[in-house]
Symmetry: C2
């Protein structure tokens, strides 16, 4: 038994807390593919070390000490139509820590900010992103207050995509004033493909509208900002 198995249990308890899943011996055993006996031994030792605590219903929770044994990376976006640029964002972000949490903008916020409805609903988008190998947990953002997500996720690192409009300094000032001055904000590099959802939408339209002449196409391809 090495340190890896302990970390897997801690990660799982953390991920379950984000997804509203209760961490019991049974759930952790099923999720990690470890035997009940093995999970039980690992948890006992984690409780002894003060990393995990048990509630009256025999559900497990991380203590502050336990939470510090993993580093959590948070990234966010709309992720309406998955493309290789998104995979790059996820893979790069995951390299920076132990757990990658992705927060997705709600449909209403996408409409407000991008002035168009996403093609995939927030439920479909979160399901798609949650199925990506590098992603440990995808969650839907808060409609009004980003700090609610900060308080839930408690990230150590926030990554920002190369083309996202956030100003890192503004973001840092906002979160610092709420007690998150220890959080690092990292802007990711551009993926070589240069893919973006807008470009993909343009491609889709080009491929399906050959009957239009180029002038028309130019007009068609103008997006709201």
């Amino acid at each position: 038994m090495t340190g890896i198995e302990y970390k897997l249990v801690i990660k799982q308890i953390y991920i379950n807390s984000l997804k509203g899943i209760k961490s019991s011996l049974t759930s952790i055993s099923r999720q990690l593919g470890f035997s009940l006996e093995f999970v039980s031994t690992l948890i006992e030792s984690l409780v002894e070390k003060g990393s995990v605590e048990v509630d009256p219903d025999n559900k497990y929770h991380l203590t502050v000490v336990g939470r510090k044994l993993i580093s959590v990376v948070l990234t966010g976006g709309t992720f309406d139509i998955l493309h290789v640029g998104h995979l790059f964002t996820f893979n790069q972000s995951k390299l920076l820590g132990d757990v990658l949490v992705v927060v997705l903008a709600t449909d209403r916020n996408v409409e407000k900010l991008k002035k168009h409805t996403p093609t995939n609903s927030q439920e479909d988008r979160v399901e798609l992103v949650d199925h990506v190998k590098a992603v440990d947990a995808a969650i839907i953002g808060d409609e009004d207050d980003f700090m609610k997500i900060m308080d839930l996720v408690q990230p150590d690192i926030i990554t920002v995509g190369f083309d996202q409009k956030h100003d890192e300094r503004d973001l840092y000032n906002t979160i610092s004033s709420k007690g998150y001055s220890h959080v690092k904000i990292i802007r990711l590099q551009k993926h070589v493909s240069g893919k973006s959802t807008s470009k993909i939408v343009q491609e889709i339209i080009k491929h399906n509208y050959r009957q239009f002449d180029d002038d028309n196409l130019e007009t068609l391809l103008k997006f709201p900002d």
Copy 2:
């Protein structure tokens, strides 16, 4: 140590063979997150049982006996724009066996069959699908001969999506005549969302072309078969 770890090693050697990755102690240890010593113990025992053989370069290969210890599910398609219906296909297929291999139609074959170029290139499509949790290996299909993929993958089960046009009997007759009469062909159910790439493309166009009146939109939304 339970049977699970042996199976993981066998799965990894099989997946590596599809992806052209050499299976050495180092590569398997890195891929599974197991220590070199642990992988070494597992492999020694697998060699002893006749499930794995070693070549002169100390690379590992499955024997016929070893390959029979896992069941392989093969599914295929274009998978141009990933949606929750695809996840359903992958998850359902994965439930039927130990390893899920997804074969993607080449760009040229998509053009021939669907009369339009895919939005994402075959390289991007294979990368996207390969990053889905349920998928063990995504590979690009053969341009001319499906049997080459059969000979490479040697599936135990083939799943066909609810909306794919293959006739299961025709497919079965073709593969049986080439020595694959033991392979089961299973047609999957429809996902509740009823999502399909064509529908998503329609959604994308609707969302981006509000300036068109409905009549025009109807014309626009006609796809080649």
